[in-house]
Amino acid sequence: MPDLYHALTLFLLLNLGAGLWRVVQGPTAADRMLAAQLFGTTAVAILLVLAQAGGVAALRDVALVFALLAAVAAVAFVRRAWPQPEDEHDRP
Amino acid sequence: MTAAFYALAGVALVVLGLYGLSVQAHLLRKLLAVNILGSGVFLVLVSLGGQPGAAPDPVPHAMVITGIVVAVSATALGLVLMLKVAAASGRPTLDDAPKEDRCPKE
């Protein structure tokens, strides 16, 4: 079982790394933000698995904080940083 | 082993942050660079504080938590200053930056 946990965290981290390609590639700002949102969820999953694997209950609190604040950056993007007409910084 | 990975990553972050801070002209970039530089220092501090098998040293942890909180307040203040500079001069760089680095004034 521990090996499965560690393989799972490694797999999830690789997943996250693959998602970075979408941040770099765009093409729209929304695509980059979507990828960041997926990173947050993946980090929550990694933390929960690590908490179980290492028997460290505190990591569930870290995951809890991640889950609570998952929306903050995305809301800041939608309410502030998203340019009204999609413009030049959305080109790849 | 774990500590060595992260300590070296911390050193790399310090180097990257210093390079960005000294070469980039845009003030927001400079703020990002300072944050990355700080993260590198924190990584080195914490990864040197632990020994394999033993309980980690809580003193660097406490210092790094303090550092993270101070870093975010300094970043917020820096962002306000940057906005003021940009509003006053029309560009988000400092005036003593070399000419070719300045953003074209719109």
Partner: protein, 305 residues
């Protein structure tokens, strides 16, 4: 330590370096900020792997939540001041780069030679932990052994807030209404955020958590409310708000002053070197042992912004 964990650590360390490089080097600022947010997420995972869950909590609340929102909001206002946001591609400077690579190599060697470090302060902290009134060593260091540092940090937060207030004549701007979904999200999320902050503060005594993390969660709650267009009532924003943000450092100062005035010999001496016969050391109700009341100040500091 098996191969899978080593792979995880190596990948995470490389990912951190790559993200930092791309965040600094890519020509588009918005992309750089998103990469920086991802960098904060990975930093939290790195703290977990370094057995520093307290730091991971602070990083999760600040690095992944607050900083990203602040940077994005600042970038948006930068656009509004008609400043160019896409710079001409930064020139690659080989001179500084070479110098820094050399310095970095030296730094790396120095750090590697320090890795089997003889001993930190964990033995001293463990020896004094029983008298600190809490069982989480990091909280004990922050609020007992280095209480004056923490007081000064509250003052740093207050100063940053005051400076931002004095500089920032934020022109009132028209905002689109938040919409039903965002309003609903806030109505559901804000009470949970406040509850979670209280939980982190309470848990800090015996488990990872504590005042800073709780304050950061409250701060993020305030930022979220600001982003949705919720504002304080006008009659609360003047003197009452100013009083509220000074209560924390003020109360802490008062406790420190009372402590120093009452027992001049012990003032300014850290707990580690204090005389063993000190009667106050055994008194759990002594002011120094209490959690300071200013834990909400980081939250307030962020709330105004």
């Amino acid at each position: 330590m098996n191969l899978l964990q080593t792979g995880f650590d190596g990948l995470l360390a490389l990912g951190l370096i790559w993200l930092a490089w791309r965040a600094l080097a890519c020509p588009d600022l918005f992309r750089g900020i998103v990469l920086f947010i991802a960098f904060g997420l990975l930093m939290a995972l790195a703290w977990v792997r370094l057995e520093a869950p307290d730091v991971a909590l602070a990083e999760a609340a600040i690095g992944a939540g607050l900083t990203g929102a602040l940077l994005l909001a600042a970038l948006a206002r930068l656009n509004r001041t008609a400043a160019a946001q896409t710079l001409p591609r930064e020139a690659w400077r080989s001179g500084p780069a070479l110098l820094l690579v050399l310095a970095g190599a030296g730094l790396g060697l120095a750090v590697l030679s320090l890795i089997p470090e003889p001993a930190g302060l964990q033995a001293q902290v463990a020896a004094e932990l029983g008298r600190s009134g809490v069982s989480n060593p990091v909280t004990a260091v922050l609020l007992n052994f280095r209480g004056y540092d923490t007081l000064l940090e509250l003052l740093v937060l207050l100063l940053a807030l005051l400076a931002a207030w004095s500089l920032d004549a934020d022109p009132p701007r028209r905002e689109a209404p938040a919409g039903a979904v965002l309003d609903m999200l806030l109505r559901l999320l804000l009470p949970v955020l406040v509850l979670a902050a209280a939980y982190l503060l309470w848990a800090g005594a015996h488990a990872p958590g504590g005042a800073f993390q709780a304050g950061a969660v409250l701060g993020a709650a305030g930022v979220l409310a600001l982003l949705a267009g919720w504002r304080l009532q006008p009659h609360l924003t003047g003197t009452p708000l100013r009083l509220a943000v000074t209560i924390g450092p003020g109360g802490f100062l008062l406790v420190a002053w009372a402590f120093a005035a009452g027992r001049p010999a012990a003032a300014g001496i850290s707990a580690g070197t204090r005389r063993r016969s000190d009667p106050a050391d055994r008194d759990p109700g002594h002011p120094v042992h209490r959690r300071h009341p200013g834990s909400a100040v980081p939250g307030l500091a962020a709330r105004r912004r």
